[in-house]
Amino acid sequence: MSISEPAKKIERWRPALVRYSLAVLAVAAATLARMALTPLLGATAAPFITFVIAILFVAWYCGLPPAALSILLSAMAGAYFFLSPAGLLSIARLENQIGLGVFVLATLGIALLADSQRRAVHLARKEARERKRSEAEERERRERLETVLASIGASVIATDSGGRITLMNPGASSLTGWTQYQARGRPAGEVFVTANGHSGGDAESPIAKACRERRIVGFSDETQLKGKDGVGIPVDGTAAPMLDESGRLSGVVLAFRDVSAWKESEHQLGRVRDQLELELAATRGLHDLGTRLLLHHDLPSLLNEVLAAAKRIAGADMGTIQLLDADGALRIHAQDGFTSEFLDFFSKVSQEEAVCGTALARGERVIVRDIEECDFLATTAALDILRRAGVRAVQSTPIVNRAGTPIGMFSTHYRTPTEPGERELRLLDLLARQAADLIERVRDEEALRKSREELGRSQQQLLLVTENMAAAVTRCSRDFRYVWVSKGCAAWLWRDPEGMAGLPIRDVLGPEAYETILPYMERVLTGERVEYTAQVNYFGTRKRWIHAVYVPTYSGAEVDGWIAVISDVTDAKDSERQLQEANASLARANQDLERFAFVASHDLQEPLLIITAYSQLLQRNYASRLDGDAAIFLENIVDGTRRMRDLLADLLTYTQLGPHTEAPTETVDLNLILEDVKSNLRALIAETDAIVTAEPLPPLRVYPAHCASLLQNLIGNALRYRSDQNPRIHVSVKQADGVYQFAVADNGMGIDPKYHDQIFEVFQRLHGSETPGTGAGLAICKRVVERYGGRIWVESAEGRGATFFFTLPASAASAAGAAGR
């Protein structure tokens, strides 16, 4: 505590002005008091007596400096009023000067004395106050500590330097089983007994350790406190040595708590953490696998990797991956650990077959813990195969894509009865999903690569084609300039393909050619595909026929130009013209020939008639006058002329069926025509005892004579070329594709297939004169049918009868069209 403190204290509650004012006032009051005493003491006796009291007061209450002021003022006032009341002259006197000096010195001493006395009193008072306060605080602190110790969960035991317990809180009491009162004063080792949880043996007491090492020590991990009843309680805590200021050990504080609950949860936590780590490792494994699998761009290596992972996860001995093929069967695409017998047997598995098929059919995983106890495997061939492959347990997990469609199956196999755990199955599910994604991705990639290759190839091919094809190919822009020109086109225009891009079409082709093709170019620019054949005069000097196709090209929705494919068809045009000319002259020649045939067959009839008639006259009127040979000669003439007459008649019919007559306008009833034909043939029918039947026939737009000769020839043939049975002839019809197909079937002698074409040629006969006929009948039939755009053919074998088929158009329009040709 410094000396200046009371002064400061004084200053705090008595400001300087007050203190100095008090000094002045005290001097003033002393002066007045001395004046009041004057009547008793006389004017000059004891001039300073009252002033001493005032100075003493000032020194006590106001401190030393105001006291010095009051001394000065007192000296002046005493000297002025009382030492020489008459005037200042008396001061000059020595005795007065001495008196004044004594007064000053004496009062100065008094002031000093009073001041120091005041300081001493003040200090003593303050010390007493301080002591009182610190005692109260100490008490309060102890009470608080004891409350804390009693109420905290931790257990606390304090000992003195001798290891005897001085303090134990209720927490420690309940753990140790000792009450505070029983324990106080006992050695700590008696109350706080520890053992090592693992070894069970006594551990070094933490108290002893703290004492020895003189620092705070923790309990070892497995420390157990033996309670009074001997049960070990896991505890954790610290032992802290208490050292006083000089470093001497004054005691030890043990703070500890029951950690059995914590130990238990820590234990559980450890288990959970282990599991989590396992999962994490597996997931990381899957992730790594996924990353690695992404590097596989071909299915087999991808599947092998997936299979290896599946085996690893499931802890399996063997495994397969199957993929669904187009016909819904599972095929093995990857395997590990199987024999060829197994692979052959399971190379293709359909639904419900074996384990994988069952899983496929059910759409979910199937686990067979032991194949010997599996219902659906019992008595199947698969069971034996599995046995021989050393399989005892199987699980099959479907590989399902994101759309929910199964695309395959992976199965893992075990040599011993096994049921995979929940965790393995979960991971297998994850793997299945991942595998599905990857398989689809690889498949997509393969498809994409294929289509890309295809595209590349087709582009290349396209370029090759455009560069090498005879036709010229160009691409033009809508401002009528070349954008690209194929080599062939450039060569055709006698140009270098490199320099043609950007050239105006007009400049390249010349104005005349440009004007010719301009309308087509304008049309293609409207977005229309344009195809035309035109004669174009290139460069005004080179006339060529071209066939061109313009296809518009688009930029967005707008036509930005076109691609033109142009062929020089001049030669084709020339040959077409030549062909047309040749055709025309051929048609003319043919017409002439037919006309000739017609006229010949017609006009030959007349002279033939004369020959016939007059030879008959000879025969009739002069027979008696002809000798043997002459009669036979004449007979031969008559016979020859008759045959010639028949031939000419048929030839005439045949030539008249040429394509020049007009189309019929009326429909005819074929049933009636058939009746006519049967009536014409009635003699032959009666002679051969034949049966002619027919289905109801449709009306047709044909010339009645044509149809009559058609049916008459066919039925007549059937009657003539009969077998030894009575002829049975049936006419039937059916409608198909706008035509009627007629059939005339007989049971006659039949026709060898090698003659099936020949018989339809004019005057071709298969039989000699024993069977009558000119050989024109079927040719006439053919000509009739073909005149209407139909077809005629025969199905027959020798001795099996024959069926002649012919078609005639069902609609009037096509009949007219065919006839108009």
């Binding site: 009839q605 007349e606 002279p607 008639l609 004369i610 016939t612 008639a613 006259l617 007459r645």
Partner: protein
């Protein structure tokens, strides 16, 4: 002469082929018809004859015309007969090797009384005479020729 006036029937035969004429004569004989035959060997001669006999009494009782003739064909003759007032009533037998179907349109249009295709053999040829007789009977009431025999 007309058959109705008595005497032999007069027939115009337009036929270029002598063989046919011979057969025709035989057919008429076969039908017991005694006829005077006026033969025109081609179309031109027939036309001349038709024009020269412009009076009804000069016209023949019947005309047998082949369609296929040199120079002017049978149709021209038919037209000429059609136009001539003197010949308008003369019955005509068209006798041709072409089938009727081919000529029907033209013949139906013209005034052809009867059409007969040239027959393919002697017996049918001889029937022509009967046809001529029928026609004469139809036109002139009775078969004078036959009766006159």
């Amino acid at each position: 002469m007309r058959a109705s006036t008595g005497g032999r029937a007069r027939l115009l035969v337009v036929e270029d082929n002598a063989g046919d004429v011979g057969l025709l004569r035989m057919a008429l004989q076969h039908a017991r018809l005694d006829c005077e035959l006026i033969i025109a060997e081609d179309g031109a001669k027939a036309l001349d004859y038709i024009r020269s006999r412009g009076v009804p009494l000069d016209a023949p009782d019947l005309a047998i015309i082949d369609l296929n003739l040199p120079k002017h064909d049978g149709f021209e003759l038919l037209e000429a007969i059609q136009r001539s007032s003197a010949w308008a009533d003369v019955p005509v037998l068209v006798f041709s090797s072409s089938p009727y179907a081919d000529n029907r349109k033209k013949l139906d249009f013209l005034r052809a009384v009867r059409f007969r295709a040239k027959p393919p053999d002697l017996d049918e040829y001889l029937e022509i005479g009967l046809v001529v007789r029928e026609m004469l009977a139809e036109w002139y009431g009775l078969d004078r020729a036959a009766e006159g025999r």
